[in-house]
């Protein structure tokens, strides 16, 4: 049995104009220490999938098992980096990260929790901004705080919902490199949601393409055969990169025209 098993996940939202079927039977597996990506068009149901695995909403059908244990509700062992950051505006960078650290380490003494908080802030290079409020930060910095908060939960599985989509291309590259470095150091299990094919190939071991909704499903996993540690430079020239990219783009294009 895989570390994370998602089987036959269905979800529809009841709206005024009748129910809209968003997910129509999603299957997915993730191994421990793996970074997997889910790539799909906007509106296909990626955030819905994240919310389901996080336990924030309940599926209509199907099941989610983490280490063989069914998911029945939210919990810090499935950390989330939300698409719209969701930083608490009344807390400083420190306060936002500390909230997570304190929540999962309630047994530790305060000094130890403070040390851990500082460690995660330093990890995303935000030590100089630690006392700033979210509104005083740039988009890229906010995104870093959200990542630090997600990591600070020390989750078994970190769900990252389009973590870099709201920042400019240059910042995005920096953040991707940062994530690559952090993940290389810690090897946590990450499910990365993105709408950027190149981002997925750069970062992930395995990529699940998502068909556009309604009734979205995931296509067969595409293995990225690139060795680690990865460097952004020259990577697009490698045959393994080209192969993964072609498979991914072709699947997504075919899925769109099939609708």
């Amino acid at each position: 049995m895989a570390y994370l098993e998602v089987r036959g996940l269905r979800k529809s939202y009841g709206t005024r104009s009748g129910p809209t079927a968003v997910l129509g039977g999603v299957d997915l597996t993730l191994e421990e220490g793996e970074l997997a990506a889910v790539v799909g068009y906007s509106g296909s149901g990626k955030t819905t999938l994240v919310s389901l695995i996080a336990g924030l909403i309940a599926p209509d059908r199907g099941e989610i098992l983490l280490e063989g244990v069914p998911v029945t509700g939210p919990g810090p062992e499935r950390g989330v980096v939300f698409q719209q950051y969701s930083l608490l505006p009344w807390l400083s960078v420190r306060g936002n990260v500390a909230l997570a650290v304190d929540a999962v380490n309630s047994g530790l003494p305060a000094s130890e929790r403070r040390r851990i908080t500082d460690e995660f802030i330093a990890l995303v290079n935000l030590t100089p901004a630690a006392w700033k409020r979210p509104r005083q930060l740039s988009g890229g910095m906010r995104q870093r705080v959200a990542v630090a908060r997600g990591l600070a939960m020390r989750p078994k599985l970190l769900l990252m919902d389009e973590p870099f989509s709201a920042v400019d291309a240059l910042t995005r590259a920096t953040l991707q490199d940062e994530l690559l470095r952090i993940w290389g150091e810690r090897r946590s299990t990450v499910m990365l949601i993105t709408n950027d094919v190149d981002e997925a190939i750069l970062l992930a071991d395995r990529i699940y393409p998502m068909t556009p909704g309604p009734d979205a499903v995931l296509g067969p996993a595409i293995e990225v055969g690139l060795p680690r540690p990865r460097q952004r430079r020259h990577m697009s020239l490698e045959p393994a990169y080209q192969k993964a990219r072609q498979a991914l783009v072709e699947f997504l294009r075919a899925a769109r025209t099939a609708r």
Partner: protein
Amino acid sequence: MRIDISQQVILPLLGAACVLVIWSIVSVSVAPDLPSPGRTWRESQRYVLEPFFKDGEMNQGIGRLAFYSLVRVGKGFALALAIGTPIGFLLGLSRRFHQSFDPIVQFMRPISPLAWLPLGLVIFQKSEPAAIFTIALCAMWPTVINTAVGVRSISPDYLNVGRVLKLSRFKTLTRIVIPATLPYVFTGYRLSLGLAWLVIVAAEMLTGTPGVGGFLWQEYNSLVYSHIILSVITIGAIGFVLDRLMGLVEARVRID
């Protein structure tokens, strides 16, 4: 800079001058009993220039009278917040509580202070607690309603953060719900203070307690009409200052 001065100083002064002119015209034409601005000033001079003199229970400088009223309003306002804030949070947090008590709140909200005061007198047998009871009862509704609306408009994103972290009910309340609601709560407080100040005049008039409102009513009965105008201006000025002060507090807790 020049535009600033003309807009923030000259124009308001122009508006005030207009009112003075109209007041003068009315006092010489249609309402001969209404004291003119000049006469009002002559007869009120002592109350303003020696604001803290005291000749008797009801004949005191305007500063002293205002102080009595402010203390009374302060007590009523504090009581309104102490009762209104928790009720507001309960209304916002609990569906059951909302279903049980929201109709009562909507029912009691429009009741005038004039209706509550006699009831307060019946309950407390004394004018001072009756006045404070009335102020609190009339002033608490904006706090109740704004707090409840604030709780219910907390972004689900913030609550989801708490859910993922599995915060306890108490921690969710203190770390997420209360900070997220605070701006609404303080808007409620500002409106409540305005109402409390509005009610004080009626409460003092009916109970005859010393204060700006009590003074106003007494001077009406003793036919010293210029002092009515003095009281009215004092009430307006204090109300304005209170609102500005609460506005400053409100701006401090605003998040964005």
